[in-house]
Amino acid sequence: MISFGIPYLAVVGLILIGLFALVFKKNLIKMVIGITIIESGVNLFLITLGYREGSIAPIYTSSPGGIMSLPVPQALTLTSIVIGVAVLALMLSLVIHIYRHYGTLNVNKIAEGEK
């Protein structure tokens, strides 16, 4: 049976949704959410690269045996998830400060007018 690699297309969908939120949404919180959506798309791509049909987790502790899924993409995904958490924390704290200064989260209102 022919499969069209639906997870790969879902990755493209997630990345484009995130970019769309970044470009066309006015609220800073929604833009931060867009970045996290892009990041989850990339993480999904990494983890799907490591998937094998009918495979078990690459752990030998009382494993039932059989083919194992690729360990390297899982490690890369773990790294990039933690990186995403760090970026998210810093972005949200900057958003908090922007709201304190401007009293709004609309990206057009806080645009630096200086040319």
């Binding site: 470009v23 949404k25 645009a111």
Partner: protein, 119 residues
């Protein structure tokens, strides 16, 4: 490509030698000094000769004589107003515009790569 001479960069069709440039500069300074000494000796900085003349108007005090930074190149920015209008329309300090330009450049590169026959 490069001459192995110590100071000299050979730039393909010519060369650049800072030490030589400095020598030439000093020589020109000496010439300028000599020509300056040919001037009148009996000139005295006194009287009406050294007064500021603003077409008869009274002279301002010094702080007002200083030209502010925004007034410099006023003529240039006025004559180039069309260009500055275009540029200012691009430089909206808006984050989503920055990301939009990133997407646009990526799309343009895709098109360039497509017409370049690579694909």
């Amino acid at each position: 490509m490069f001459d192995l001479e110590f100071f000299r960069i050979n730039t393909g069709s010519g060369y650049w030698d800072p030490i030589l440039w400095i020598f030439a500069f000093i020589i020109i300074l000496v010439i300028v000094y000599v020509i300056r000494n040919l001037g009148k000796k009996d000139f005295k900085k006194s009287g009406e000769k050294s007064k500021v003349f603003l077409s008869g108007n009274p002279e301002y005090d010094k702080e007002q004589m200083h030209i502010k930074g925004s007034n410099l190149y006023w003529g240039f920015t006025e004559s180039m107003k069309w260009l500055y209008d275009i540029l200012n329309r691009f430089h909206t300090g808006n984050v989503s515009d920055y990301v939009l330009w990133f997407v646009v450049v990526m799309a343009a590169l895709f098109i360039v790569m497509t017409i370049s026959g690579g694909i």
